[in-house]
Amino acid sequence: MTILTFNKSELEKLIGKITPELEKRITNMGTPIEEVTNKELSIEVFPNRPDLLSLRNFSKAFNQYNKKSGLVKFNVNPPEKNYSISVDKNLAEVRPYTVCAIVKKLKLDYSKILEIIDIQEKLHNSIGRKRKKVAIGIYPLNKISLPIRFIGKKPEDIKFLPLDSSKELTGNQILKSHPKGRDYAHLLKDAPVYPIFIDANDEILSMPPIINSKKTGKVDESTNEIFIECSGNNLYYLNKALNILLFTLSEMGGKIYSMEVKGIDKKTLITPDMKPQNLEFEISDIEKTLGVKFTEKDIKKYLSQMGIGYESINGKSIALVPQYRVDILHPIDLSEEVAISYGYENFVPEIADISTTGEEDKTSKLKRTLGDILAGLGLLETSSYHLTNKKNIRKMHFDFNDFIEVENSKTNRDVLRMDLLTNSLQILSENSNSAYPQKIFEIGRVFSLDESKTSETGVKEEEHLSISIVNEGVSFTELKQILDYLFMMLNIPYTIENTENNNYINGRAGKIFVGPVNVGYIGEIAPRVLKNWKIRMPVVSLEIDLDFLFSSNL
């Protein structure tokens, strides 16, 4: 979730006075308002709209939404002399791509510089996937000499004065000791060469995706011409990031010049390409999706409100999608654009005239039946977490080892429960202050490793039932009465056989059978287990695997 905070007075200069009505429109555009204070207004920008991540970009989109302008037409000037960059082949496995542009006639002030730095960082963290996919560098043109080379060099052979440092560092030193180096070191881990941008005077501009040079890589209020590069491993998103940033700079009044990028998959590219992308679609598809009838004029207006152009060529509807948009993958995406400018609040809800029959799932049904039977006996249903930890499980199953563990849990629960009894005993141990007797039951999912060939995940899931009674003087009889009643109500015969089980007191543990199938255990919990749980009262418990209720013809 990306939150964008604007200075209210700056925003008002661009979109007009902020009234409650205007706030509502901001939310309706798909940028819900997070917070409004006296000075600031914060919105949430969804991950599919990185093109909205700056004050100017958002304001432009909002003005389009309010019909104050339509599709943005970018004027991209051809490359001038030496406006070129060559990409070294040895970067193929490290950071193979870059796309670039030059912007002139910029009048930067402090707040504009902040805006640029902010969108740069926000793009890094969103479509840039924390600089892995895209890293952006911006340089004052007057401090560098064109043409530029993007080359790979051994880290020990790279040496320059990076931003936020007082001395020259080598590539290795930057990763080890520079704060930015440490943050992003993993992106260059094990790389044989590190990428650098280097100019015609062999001056290092930057070492992406880590840090720029102090000498050539810092834009300030005196800068009015800049060189921008985006480097990474995905050409499509590099172009998108470049276009979004150029959108911002062009809204600031900058003039865009393209550059030649040599050596991209053995070819030469001219970047940026800011000509809208043509997307053919059917108006009837939008009507069908939204359930609303539209004229061609409606569609043209609604698309224009979302900054998208419209043309009809040979009777075919064509949407002109600006190159800074990353969210229009398919004509279906145009239906949402139309829906937003039509207004979500204007859709009349409809209940479809189709006849279907409702049906409860059989597990659900059974759980409800069992719950009703047991609640009728005065038992209280509990509901506990599916995750527990090894220590809890071993309080009872002291030699259990087949744990199903989750990776990097942020809580102290990191294994899936293998039975329900562990949780029930934990509940009893935490409730010594509640009045006795305590009679509890739980119905739920337990997990075990499944090595059968047909298993998709390697984990088996079963529905279990567990019942526990704790009280001074509680007896096996009391629980067996419940078991009897339960099976009587289910109209299923069962038997109990004596068994030896460390979890229960010797001679007071039984296996429960339905026909030949051992479906569970019943018994008086062993003092050793109660001690582990610090339970100071006798407990009788049973646990049943409910599978037999689904699979059999009973």
């Binding site: 479809a352 209280l380 509901s383 942020k410 984990v459």
Partner: protein
């Protein structure tokens, strides 16, 4: 009530106790003794008499110093300082570090013993050793604290100066002495009580109706003792379903009424069914470990790659991601099968929907409507507003003619039945739906819109690999826990699965 009615409502215990209460205050113990009724019963009787306005009570409290748990122990075995003193008399000198072992004291006790003796100026410490000070007081004489402890319990207001001093010395040391408050209740008759007490109490009344009384018609012409119906009775509690289950059952019923079939399925699934079939890019942050619970050391299976590519779901899902399904650009990134094989705890119940969609895609059984209400998981630090397990209400409508207006229609209908009348929808983003929406309800107390959950129509990149063509599917997956906490006025999400038995017993029933 007139006097006669009052007499008729006196229970047997009240009848026994009342004559022993006088017009001047007397102690409950005495009344109990004189009435030959035990103290608890006497108290109950006095409670009933108070309700009838026949007696008046006054209570006074007195504070007593009594021995704490450690105090009782020390009284038997000596205070730590006495033990140290005895050992010093025997050994003359002890290294400070050895006090603990030689006197069999714990760290804390050893420290206190030494400190106390130093304060009393009976020992000196030199070069890390402690020894008795020559010419100090007679060590066999009892210490102030020892005398005091033997005298306990003492009423605080009655303590001598030396007792207070000893108390001050001991009170900072845990559990040696403590103060308890004893409440003394005295009772006397009110003027009405005096009147009634003088009257004849033995009415020939029936207390309990017995089979014998019924059989022999003894009840004829007799009166039954009147009950005080306003007296509070001891609380009882019954068995019941867990409140989360009650809430879920209610919501399930609504979906069933609306003609939806329930889906059920595994909580553990592969990345393929949780993310890839749902067109979630493989480098989407939600797939990272900090958000999702991956299971250690497990690699799942994904459907087989078939020779005939059009029928192969893996091939079609890959194509959706890399670009090319129905002209879609996809994510313009290479799709990796290994990521799809990772095994995880489902972060949403939409994995059930997509599996169902696959099943329907095979047999073309639609229009059809499905729902699920189940647990989902996310790797999250737990606090009052975050849990690592949560319930999601999932729904899906598959119909050639389904549209966005119907999506809003189904959701509004459901929430209306759940008791939410003021609802709004607004744009939202989910990787696998287009158009998407978020639904909010207006919280009448907080006077603000509160998020209920997301919904949308499955993208062609999702439906085409399942059906071979794009069939409109309305889908939603909404948090359900907020509805539960709203109804039960639970402020802290952790309360949902805390299983505090007292709270569960007192929890109201789900009712809308």
């Amino acid at each position: 009530m007139d006097e006669k009615t009052i007499i008729e409502s006196l229970s047997p215990i009240e009848r026994s106790v009342l004559p022993n209460i006088t017009s001047s205050y007397s102690n409950i113990n005495d009344i109990s003794k004189n009435s030959s009724v035990d103290k608890t019963t006497t108290k109950r009787a006095i409670g009933f008499l108070l309700n009838k306005d026949l007696v008046k009570t006054k209570s006074s409290s007195k504070k007593f110093v009594v021995l704490g748990i450690l105090g009782i122990n020390y009284l038997k075995k000596d205070l730590p300082e006495r033990i140290l003193l005895n050992k010093l008399t025997e050994k003359k000198t002890i290294p400070i570090g050895e006090i603990k072992n030689i006197c069999s004291l714990n760290e804390n006790e050893a420290r206190i013993a030494l400190g106390t003796l130093k304060k009393k100026a009976v020992v000196e410490i030199k070069e890390g050793r402690v020894s008795l000070l020559k010419g100090s007081v007679n060590i066999s004489k009892k210490m102030l604290e020892e005398i005091f402890m033997e005298k306990l319990p003492l009423e605080v207001d009655q303590m001598e100066p030396q007792d207070s001093l000893a108390y001050e010395n001991l009170k900072s040391r845990k559990e040696i002495v403590e103060i308890v408050e004893k409440i003394n209740i005295e009772v006397k008759l009110t003027s009405l009580g005096e009147k009634i007490s003088k009257m004849k109490l033995e009415g020939n009344m029936i207390e309990s109706l017995t089979p014998k009384i019924l059989k022999q018609n003894i009840w004829k012409g007799k009166k039954f003792r009147r009950y005080d119906l306003t007296t509070s009775v001891p609380k009882i509690h019954g068995g019941k379903r867990h409140f989360v289950e009650q809430s879920k059952d209610y919501a399930k019923n609504i979906w069933l009424e609306m003609g939806f079939k329930e889906m059920n399925g595994n909580m553990v699934d592969t990345g393929f069914w949780v993310f890839d079939t749902l067109f979630t890019a493989q480098d989407h942050p939600v797939r990272e470990m900090q958000d999702t619970f991956y299971l250690k050391g497990l690699r799942g299976k994904i459907p087989e790659r078939l020779k005939k590519k059009e029928d192969c779901i893996v091939f079609n899902v890959q194509k959706a991601h890399e670009g090319g399904v129905d002209g879609s650009l996809g994510w313009q990134s290479t799709w990796n099968e290994e990521d799809a094989r990772r095994v995880l705890l489902r972060p949403h119940t939409t994995s059930l929907s997509i599996r169902k969609l696959r099943e329907i895609g095979k047999n073309s059984k639609f229009p059809s409507k499905y729902f699920a209400l189940g647990k989902c998981f996310r790797n999250e630090t737990v606090d009052w507003s975050h849990g690592f397990e949560f319930n999601q209400a999932e729904g899906m409508v598959i119909d050639e003619n389904a549209n966005f207006r119907q999506l809003i229609g189904y959701l509004k209908e459901f929430y209306k039945k759940m008791g939410y009348n003021k609802i709004r929808v607004r744009p939202a983003y989910f990787a696998y739906t287009e158009p998407s929406l978020e639904i909010d309800f207006f919280h009448t107390d907080r006077k603000e819109w509160v998020e209920l959950g997301g919904a949308g129509m499955f993208r062609p990149e999702v439906t085409i690999p399942m059906f071979g063509k794009h069939i409109p599917v309305l889908a939603w997956g909404q948090g359900f826990d907020r509805i539960i906490t709203e109804f039960f006025e639970i402020k802290d999400l952790r309360e949902l699965y805390k299983n505090d038995i007292t709270k569960l017993r007192n929890m109201k029933f789900w009712r809308k």
